[in-house]
């Protein structure tokens, strides 16, 4: 056996795949990261210590078998690695690209304890595994699937819906996924910019799922009537509608001129890039001074999209300090590299107009107050610290609230007070028989990988109930 060098982790430095130089990458919306070659992937994988406590796996929301597949990559066993990767994550090539690994697996990595001892580059390897295996002809193994003669409708082709579809099809159900957009992916396609996740990657996943037997009905708005029909027609329905209602803040009215909700901005840009004709054209920020409000991943996506559109200046204003930013550190770093200016500890208070034209955002400086119950320190404004940040356009990325359609109530689906759907914590069932839900609409907006996890678990639960119902008696339990 190849006796691996136990000191590889610090003899070999952490190395990410090549990254496009800033000057080139800001010219278009393509993915900025390259891929490992086999040698680099093997070498980087070999840095894994194979800890007694795999903190990476523990931290990962889907609990990817990370040390195991790193070892397989090291040994050059890409198909085995892909099988294993896929066994916990139905969308590994996507998570490999969009997960904030620095907060999850790589952040928890034992080696992530100092500048010279950086974490194993888990995300890049995850991406390498799927990309390489699929390019070499690997396909999800559908052997041994027994049809159960049950049909499930999934509403929403975002990560939760796709993940659930994958699980259901492998368990022998018939699956149809409905989405109002003309492409699958939900936010994967329309929210996350191409420089993080190339649109072709999602399209590739679509064809894989279709090969497995998943049917998609796209561009279909599910209204009350349509839903009632689905509910009639299918044995179960899984709702994964996401959260699309932009959070509001006093003084920042997104209806005002020059102010755009982040998602509108990103979606319209995506349509543009996918050459999908819509009523509303892309919002073009070329030559403008842009201020992005917020500090999460969506804010970064806005920042960097604006840079690519040729904005004159992009400023990101966040009310806490840099440490407290909720998004991926990597994305913040990328944004900085691409020229985004950050202003921390500023609370937007209002908009300043001159001649009906937006000219700036009024802000107050903040300082960190006492920690709240969850240990997070709140931002307190400092009286008298008002100032204005010049702006021709403002993108608002304060996050999203659920957007529950009216027909949920018609079917007796109970909601939390904030609009999230109530489900049973293990069965993912709503208060309506045969209707399940998951993803952001249940949890509130969260990571892609969290939605993947919920979709995967919901599929298991739905299968269990569908098959249990079809069994003649309680033989299982008696045995």
């Amino acid at each position: 056996m190849s006796q691996k060098d136990p000191f590889a982790f610090f003899k070999i430095p952490r190395k990410m795949p090549t990254i496009l130089p800033v000057t080139v990458r800001v010219l278009a919306h393509h993915e900025i990261y390259g891929s490992y070659d086999q040698e680099a992937a093997g070498e980087q994988s070999a840095r894994c210590l194979d800890c007694g406590n795999p903190y990476c796996e523990w931290k990962c929301p889907v609990h990817n078998r990370i040390p195991e597949w790193l070892k397989l990559v090291e040994e050059g066993k890409i198909f085995e690695a892909a099988d294993l990767s896929y066994s916990t994550n139905p969308l590994p090539e996507i998570c490999g690209r969009v997960c904030p690994q620095d907060r999850l697996c790589e952040g928890a990595c034992t080696l992530n304890i100092g500048p010279n001892m950086s974490a194993v580059s888990i995300g890049a390897v995850e991406k390498y595994i799927s990309d390489t295996a699929i390019a070499q002809g690997w396909r999800p193994n559908m052997a041994g699937v027994i049809k159960i003669g049950k049909r499930v409708a999934i509403v929403g082709a975002g990560p939760a819906g796709l993940s659930c579809a994958d699980g259901l099809i492998r368990g022998g159900a018939e699956v149809t996924v409905f989405d109002r957009q003309p492409e699958i992916g939900g936010l994967l396609t329309f929210g996350i910019p191409g420089f993080k996740l190339e649109k072709s990657v999602v399209q590739q996943r679509r064809s894989l799922l279709e090969e497995m037997g998943v049917r998609f009905q796209l561009g279909v708005e599910i209204d009350a009537g349509a839903f009632a029909a689905l509910y009639q027609e299918y044995d179960a329905v899984y709702l994964a509608l996401g959260t699309y209602t932009a959070k509001q803040q006093l003084g920042i009215d997104t209806a005002s001129a020059g102010v755009y909700p982040a998602l509108d901005y990103l979606v319209r840009n995506a349509y543009d890039l996918l050459a999908i004709k819509t009523a509303e054209p892309a919002i073009d920020l070329r030559g403008l001074r842009v201020v992005v409000l917020g500090g999460g991943d969506t804010a970064m996506d806005c920042n960097r999209t604006a840079v690519r559109q040729g904005a004159a200046k992009v400023t990101c204003a966040y009310r806490r300090d840099e440490q407290a930013m909720p998004g991926s550190r990597r994305e913040v770093a990328n944004a900085k590299e691409e020229g985004v200016q950050f202003q921390f500890n500023v609370q937007p208070m209002g908009l300043q107009y001159q001649d009906g034209k937006l000219v700036g955002v009024q802000v107050l400086e903040t300082r960190l107050g006492l920690p709240d119950q969850r240990g997070r320190r709140s931002a307190e404004v400092i009286p008298g610290s008002e100032r204005v940040i010049a702006a021709d356009a403002v993108l608002v990325a304060f996050g999203f609230d659920p957007s529950p359609p009216d027909w949920l109530a018609q079917h007796g689906i109970a909601l939390h007070s904030d609009g999230r759907v109530q489900v049973h914590s293990e069965r993912f069932s709503t208060s309506a028989v045969g209707i399940y839900a998951g993803g952001d609409m249940v949890r509130g907006s969260d990571l892609v990988v969290t939605a993947v996890f919920e979709g995967r678990e919901a599929a298991k639960a739905i299968l269990a109930e569908l098959t249990a119902a079809s069994k003649p008696s309680d033989i299982q339990q008696a045995a």
Partner: protein
């Protein structure tokens, strides 16, 4: 020796103690007049010898009750007649006599029954003389059970021949024993025409006071056996004193359970032409002590017609298979008798007496000492120690010691003294054994390459189904199976097993996980199977067993396997062999293990038993138990349950010896699995699923042979398993698989009585657990999930499970040190925030029950009190120790941080087994606890005096029965210097302490430690296992001050995986048993008890206290506080937290630990403890210790947890002692060491002022550890080497006791005219020891033993010159001393890492095993050294003047020094003709060392 109870389920309501856990050890010997001339002086000498061996026995807390002693006399006819005459008993020519113990209140029924039994055998009980006894000579405890003593005279009709008479006596006695089984007093001490015994629970000095008859001048005998007992327990019995009817035994039969069962199984066929044993079953007592059973066995063989020379050699054969020095005929004799009788295995020194012979012999490993001498007037004296028989040196014509398996016998018929060689010749000539074997034995050749692993490989899907059915995970496949096949050894792991016991788990666990391997600790030694490989054997004979009493060629017809692990090819060969499956045997019997679930597991197993019985009744010899052919809807009976049940059933049916159990199973994969199957009776095992899995890995190119050829992965796997199996049996001190088979050397944790009784009868199982229904449900779940696909189940589930038993895996088994626990603990100690500690404690304390303590809740003692009423923090901190972790395993930074933290807290850190840098002595970096472990690394006088506590690590929780390991890459220059080892060479400590082969040896080591550092407390660390309480009682009687009971979950730097997983039990069991046994014996007040193993929070501490611990050891948790992330890579030296590594960069860049973090941790614990105490109304730990009444069992969460019954842990039944905790500051030894004290007083000034000087003393064998007090005083004042230039010389005359010059420091020179016992120069750091015989000695010095066993063990420097022979294991673990002796026993220079040894004469076998440093010269006059050294690591070169000029000069200098020191006549002869002797010298060196490097060493030394 173990006492055993008939009843294995005696636990109900009676706590954890079981009488069968008792052990003992002893001093023993015999004096024999070769011409059979009865002499009174021999009796006097024996009584005096017992007296001088008092230190080898033990004394009860009453100070007067001994554990038992006695003598056995040969034919004291005149005396017996005189007694008869005085009592007016008329005797005929032919009579027998013996003592009988009877009920003092009602002796009549027993006497009547015995009389009747004698009568029915045609004998007459002439009279029962009342034997005078003086009860003032015995202690209070002995009085409680003292019997009345009668002397029975029996006469026989004149027509009855002598031998017939003897057998009739035996039959009558046996029948009386059966008839009077319920009479606890009735016991026949001896009853024979040839011998007469006295024994009792008395101190040696009191024997003749208790029996005034012994003082009669007319008591004369031509042979006297004597024995003094040390029982671990203070409830010994009168009947269990030695000698028994034929023998006295010093040692322990480790395989006793197996030997007893096999004898039970043979009951039905045990017939001699002269005696039918069938009506006398059981011939071998199933309870009592192992020695008693051995005595029964030997007596039966003798009465059945074998003579003593033959019988004892059958029971205790030498390691004949690999002994090149044995003749072919002798080997054939041993092989022939190995077929019908497995060895009675374990340490043994035996003295025996029958009508024709008096004899003495040792076990195959020479694990007990026996010294002998022969006087001019033809008296042979043998004893545990030299110096117990007073005879002037000029009257001694020969002197020696018995080596491994050596035997001496006196043939009274001829008056000859027979040695081993002569005995072998006599035995070999009994029959043409060699010819019979050549014709009868068929060896199955195993080394044929089996290129396919599996002739019919499973398709992938089927394979996966099998794997899932039998619970094989990816983890096991990759971490266990693959490593075995690739590297031919078990994988190494680190850290402890932090998973729950199987019964507590929420997952279905392998049945094997319920079985914990037995291991030897204290009362018997494990064997070093690596370095003493020659005594080990896995050879397995197949076929119906023959009758030991019939010498017949037909009994040599056997098929012999070299190991019980079968390949597919071998199994197929076996089931076709006409010898096994011919028409006479009606083929082989297939027992299919699949059953219909509705039948139920229990019924299915019973069916199998019935089937097996029918098959064997029908003549079948091979039974094949198989789970290889699954059937839809059916479940497999676990192979282990089937094997155990069938084995037990066939024994009960008297059929087991007529057949062999082959097991074809998917369940067996690692060495523990095989050990379980064989330990419960399997003859051989075919692990098909292991092979199929390896085959699939090979097909997927996922495995590559790193040894040999990939086609031979199966063979490599078997080799790996064989090594593991040897390790497991060696761990219990067993050397042959024959003795292990059926010996049931396991403790079961978590099975219900119904399962134990049916499948594993007589195996210890104390807390209940899973029943048949639960086990069936587990298998049903596995089998259902194993189906290739199921509707509605994702096909991803068809993959193997990830596993999670070794490492944490999400969704797998619970791990106590999981990421949540580690992360919160680290966050807490880094921030110092108690709120975060509480989150950590919440993770631990509110886990789903994972440890036994999680099922115990503490009840309040009182209403809540203010925290100010609870004892202060500082008091509590004193109760905390860090567990021993060596510098070497840990980096210096981590080791020091821990020491600093513990010192600052006022707690104690433990150095572990790796020395300590002298620069740390006297600073806050010094560890207050210094550990003494089997490797003795860095243990010097100075090390030992720099301690408050000296801890003898008998066993370690992670790997009890094995030594510590330090891989070579962790041995850097610093570590090598501190351990006196070579950089880069890995260190594996021996499994045994070579100076602790029995309980009295431990007493000696404790005495040694108290002599060198009288101010220190001595602690003994044991690992929890059934019987540990009894061992702890023994340890308390050895005068230990502290006892630590470790749980199975202790950590380790490196250990084979199966050791981490399968040995040791939870500390809750061991601690509770210890507490109960100590209190049962009135010993608790003498000794402090500590526990360690996975303690994490304040709640753990309180529960441990309630179960009986008054102090607490923490190992892993403080490491985690320092930054350990539980990576389990300690053995790789690449620890990415810089803790368990010696790599300079990792230590520098990655280690972020600070003493403050550890301090924070302990302060958190104390706060947690105090807050809880306040809430529970407890003021101090003292109040809580042992208050099991405050613990209550809580409801478990799973059916198995609910099946547990922890009431035995909480029981107070039979605990006579009021104190629940230690009430004395220390536990001072009985031996006041008066002479040593005088020596210290005499030399005090000379030491203080560094004056030197010469002092003379006369010494005796009971003056032990001489020199140690002086060395301690010297080291304290001047260090190890500071007094070199002003030496004190002790001139001694006589026989020195054990441990002469132990831990000798520089500046102490000891010159002894006379002889010394074991352990001379043990742990010597510097100085000089010289031993030579008196000038007028009547014997030839170079042929006579002059020093005992295990001399220079762990020496790091100094010089030793002895003009005579040394015993076994001379210079074992020597790492720096220079020594000259004139001959040595076996295993000389074992595991030596430095120093020089010159042997001017013959060596024993296995010279230089594990020898990696230093060198030796051996004079090989007989030219057979090549057969006597261990070829693995050393090479030998002739010392020629041309190429080795430096060595020639060095050798010459050494011989000169020896002459100067000892005046050796033999050395002078050699020196006088040096050129002629020179070519006969070998230079022995590690093969890794170049000659050049040795020369450099010489030059440096010169």
């Amino acid at each position: 020796m173990q006492d055993s109870s008939e009843n294995t389920t005696e636990h109900a309501g009676a706590g954890l103690y079981q009488s069968r856990f008792e052990h003992d050890a002893c001093g023993f010997g015999m004096f024999v007049q070769l011409d059979d001339q009865p002499q009174r002086r021999l009796v006097d000498a024996a009584l005096e010898a017992l007296n001088r061996l008092t230190h080898r026995g033990a004394i009860a807390p009453d100070g007067l009750t001994g554990d038992g002693c006695g003598i056995l006399l040969r034919k004291p006819k005149a005396y017996l007649r005189a007694l008869a005459l005085e009592s007016a008993i008329a005797l005929g020519e032919r009579f027998a006599s013996g003592l009988v113990f009877v009920d003092p209140n009602n002796p009549a029924p027993a006497l009547a029954a015995l009389t009747a039994c004698l009568h029915s055998e045609g004998l007459t009980a002439v009279d029962f003389r009342e034997v005078p006894t003086d009860h003032s000579a015995i202690g209070a405890q002995a009085k409680l059970s003292v019997p009345a003593v009668r002397q029975l005279y029996v006469s026989a009709p004149a027509s009855m021949l002598e031998e017939r008479f003897e057998r009739a006596l035996f039959i009558a006695r046996r029948k009386a024993e059966l008839a009077l089984a319920a009479d606890n007093y009735f016991y026949v001490v001896s009853l024979s025409q040839h011998s007469f015994g006295y024994k009792g629970m008395v101190m040696p000095s009191a024997l003749k006071l208790f029996f005034p008859d012994l003082q009669r001048p007319d008591l004369a005998a031509s042979a006297v056996l004597f024995h003094q007992r040390f029982s671990t327990n203070t409830l010994p019995q009168w009947r269990l004193a030695h000698p028994f009817r034929v023998l006295a035994h010093n040692g322990e039969i480790n395989s006793i359970e197996g030997n007893r069962s096999w004898m039970r199984a043979r009951g039905a066929i045990l017939q001699s032409p002269v005696l039918d044993f069938r009506a006398l079953q059981p011939v071998v007592s199933m309870h009592g002590s192992d020695s008693q059973s051995l005595d029964n066995m030997l007596e039966a063989l003798l009465l059945g017609g074998l003579d003593l020379l033959c019988a004892i050699r059958i029971l205790l054969p030498p390691a004949w298979r690999d002994d090149e020095t044995l003749s072919d005929d002798a080997r054939a004799f041993y092989e022939y008798f190995s077929l019908p009788m497995e060895p009675w295995d374990g340490p043994a020194g035996l003295v025996m007496l029958d009508q024709r012979f008096a004899a003495c012999c040792l076990d195959r490993n020479g694990l007990r000492p026996a010294r002998w001498l022969l006087t001019r007037d033809r008296v042979l004296a043998v004893a545990s120690e030299a110096g117990v028989f007073d005879v002037p040196a000029r009257d001694i014509i020969k002197k020696g010691r018995l080596g491994p398996s050596e035997m001496l016998a006196v043939d009274f018929r001829s008056g000859e003294l027979l040695n081993s060689l002569a005995i072998d010749s006599i035995n070999a000539a009994r029959a043409p054994f060699g010819k019979w074997l050549r014709e009868g034995v068929k060896n199955v050749i195993s080394d044929l390459v089996d290129p396919n692993l599996a002739a019919e490989p499973f398709p992938n899907q089927l394979l996966a189904q099998f794997q899932r059915t039998f619970g094989l995970t990816r983890e096991e496949r990759d971490s266990v199976l693959k490593v075995l096949a690739e590297a031919e050894v078990e994988a190494t792991g680190s850290m402890g097993d932090d998973t729950p016991m199987a019964v507590l788990s929420h997952k279905p666990r392998s049945l094997y996980d319920y079985f914990r391997q037995a291991f030897a600790q204290v009362t018997n030694p494990p064997i070093d199977s690596l370095r003493e490989h020659g005594v080990m054997s896995l050879v397995t004979p197949l076929g119906a067993e023959g009758n030991v009493f019939e010498l017949d060629a037909k009994h040599a017809r056997m098929v012999v396997l070299n190991s019980p692990i079968l390949s597919q090819r071998k199994l197929r060969q076996l089931v076709l062999m006409p010898e096994l499956v011919g028409p006479a045997q009606k083929g082989y019997g297939l027992l299919d293990l699949y059953y219909a679930p509705e039948l139920g597991l229990q019924a299915a197993i019973k069916n199998l038993c019935v089937q097996a019985e029918a098959l064997v009744q029908g003549g079948v010899v091979l039974l094949l138990l198989s789970d290889r052919y699954p059937k839809p809807g059916l479940l497999p009976v676990h192979a282990l349950m089937a094997t155990g049940a069938i084995h037990a059933h066939l024994i009960a049916a008297g059929l087991r010896c007529q057949c062999n159990l082959l097991v074809e199973t998917g369940s067996a994969r690692d060495s523990h699995h095989f050990a379980c199957l064989i330990g419960f009776g399997a003859t051989a095992v075919y692990p098909y699923l292991a092979y199929q899995t390896l085959y699939a890995l090979k097909a997927a190119h996922a495995i590559h042979a790193s040894v040999g050829d990939e086609r031979q992965l199966g063979r490599s796997y078997r080799r790996g398993i064989r090594k593991g199996l040897l390790k497991i049996i060696a761990k219990m001190g067993i050397s042959t698989i024959d003795s292990y088979r059926g010996a049931q050397l396991f403790e079961i944790v978590g099975l219900q009585t119904e399962v134990v009784n049916l499948c594993f009868p007589h195996t210890v199982s104390r807390v209940g657990g899973a029943d048949f229904a639960m086990l069936q449900a587990d298998q049903a779940k596995l089998s259902a999930e194993a189906l290739p696909s199921a509707p509605g189940v994702s096909n991803i589930n068809q993959q193997l499970d990830a596993g999670g038993l070794l490492k944490f895996v999400q969704g797998g088994e619970y791990h106590a040190y999981n990421p949540d626990v580690i992360n919160t603990l680290q966050e807490a100690v880094r921030s110092g925030d108690y709120a975060i500690y509480q989150r950590y404690a919440e993770h631990v304390d509110s886990r789903s029950p994972a440890m036994l303590r999680d099922l115990l809740a503490i009840k309040p003692m009182r209403a809540p009190i203010s925290i100010d009423e609870v004892e202060p923090e500082a008091m509590l901190l004193k109760r905390f120790d860090s567990a021993g972790m060596s510098l070497g395993a840990l980096s210096p930074e981590a080791h020091e941080a821990l020491a600093i933290a513990m010192n600052r807290l006022g707690a104690r850190s433990n150095s572990g087994e790796g020395g300590e840098d002298p620069a740390r002595y006297g600073t806050e970096k010094s560890s207050k606890i210094k550990q003494v472990a089997s490797g003795r690394f860095g243990v010097t006088a100075e090390y030992l005096i720099n301690a408050e506590v000296l801890q003898i690590k008998i066993a370690q929780g992670a790997k009890p029965g094995e030594g510590g390991q330090l891989p070579g890459h962790k041995v850097d220059a610093l570590i090598a210097r501190l351990r006196f080892a070579k950089p880069g060479i890995g260190l594996i400590s021996p499994p045994p302490h070579h100076d602790i082969y029995s309980i009295e040896d431990l007493a000696q080591l404790i005495f040694d430690l108290k002599e060198i550092n009288p101010a220190a407390l001595v602690s003994v660390k044991l690992v929890s296992h059934a019987g540990v309480g009894t061992i702890a009682a023994g340890v308390a009687k050895c005068y230990a001050d502290l006892i630590t009971i470790s749980g199975y979950d202790g950590g380790t730097g490196a250990s084979p995986l199966s050791s981490i997983k399968y040995a040791g039990t939870p500390w809750e069991l061991g601690l509770a048993e210890t507490q109960q046994t100590l209190r049962r014996n009135g010993l608790r007040g003498r000794v402090r008890v500590q526990t360690d193993g996975g303690l994490k929070t304040g709640l753990d501490v309180l529960k441990a206290a309630a179960l009986g611990a008054e102090s607490f050891g923490f190992g892993t948790a403080p490491m985690v506080a320092l930054g350990c992330k539980y990576l389990r890579i300690c053995h790789l030296n690449n620890c990415a937290t810089g803790i368990a590594t010696q790599h300079p960069q990792l230590r520098k860049q990655f280690f972020t630990g600070l003493p403050e973090m550890v301090e924070n941790y302990f302060r958190f614990i104390v706060r947690d403890v105090r807050e809880r105490m306040a809430a529970l109304g407890i003021r101090s730990i003292e109040e809580l210790v042992g208050r099991t009444d405050l613990l209550a069992q809580t409801a478990g969460q799973t059916p198995k947890q609910r099946g547990l019954d922890l009431s035995p842990l909480l029981s107070e039944a039979g605990l006579i002692e009021a104190s629940r905790s230690c009430v004395r500051p220390d536990n001072p030894p009985h031996d006041q060491a008066e002479l040593a004290k005088r020596m210290l007083a005499d030399t005090q000034l000379a030491i203080e002022q560094k004056l030197g000087g010469t002092f003379s003393y006369t010494v005796q064998n009971h003056n032990r550890s001489l020199g140690a007090r002086l060395s301690g005083a010297i080291a304290r004042k001047h260090g190890n080497y500071g007094m070199r230039d002003a030496p004190i010389t002790l001139k001694l005359r006589g026989s020195a006791g054990q441990s002469l010059g132990v831990w000798n420091a520089g500046g102490l020179h000891i010159e002894l005219e006379g002889e010394a016992n074991d352990y001379v120069g043990k742990g010597m750091a510097d100085g000089k020891i010289v031993v030579y015989p008196p000038a007028d000695a009547g014997f030839i010095a170079r042929d006579a033993a002059i020093i005992g066993n295990t001399c220079l063990y762990g020496a790091t420097g100094g010089e030793l010159y002895a003009a005579g022979l040394a015993g076994e294991r001379f210079a074992v673990r020597n790492s720096g001393a220079t020594a000259v002796v004139e001959g040595v026993g076996a295993h000389c220079c074992e595991y030596m890492t430095g120093g020089v040894v010159l042997v001017l004469g013959r060596t024993g076998l296995n010279f230089g095993a594990g020898f990696t440093g230093g060198f030796a010269y051996v004079l090989d006059v007989e030219r057979d050294f090549v057969d006597r050294y261990n070829h693995e690591l050393i090479d030998i070169t002739r010392v020629s003047p041309e190429s080795l000029e430096n060595h020639v000069q060095h050798l010459d200098r050494l011989i000169g020094a020896h002459i100067k020191a000892t005046g050796s006549a033999w050395a002078k002869t050699i020196a006088a003709d040096f050129r002629a002797y020179l070519p006969k010298f070998w230079l022995v060196k590690p093969n890794a060392a170049s000659l050049q490097s040795l020369i450099e060493t010489l030059k440096r030394a010169a």
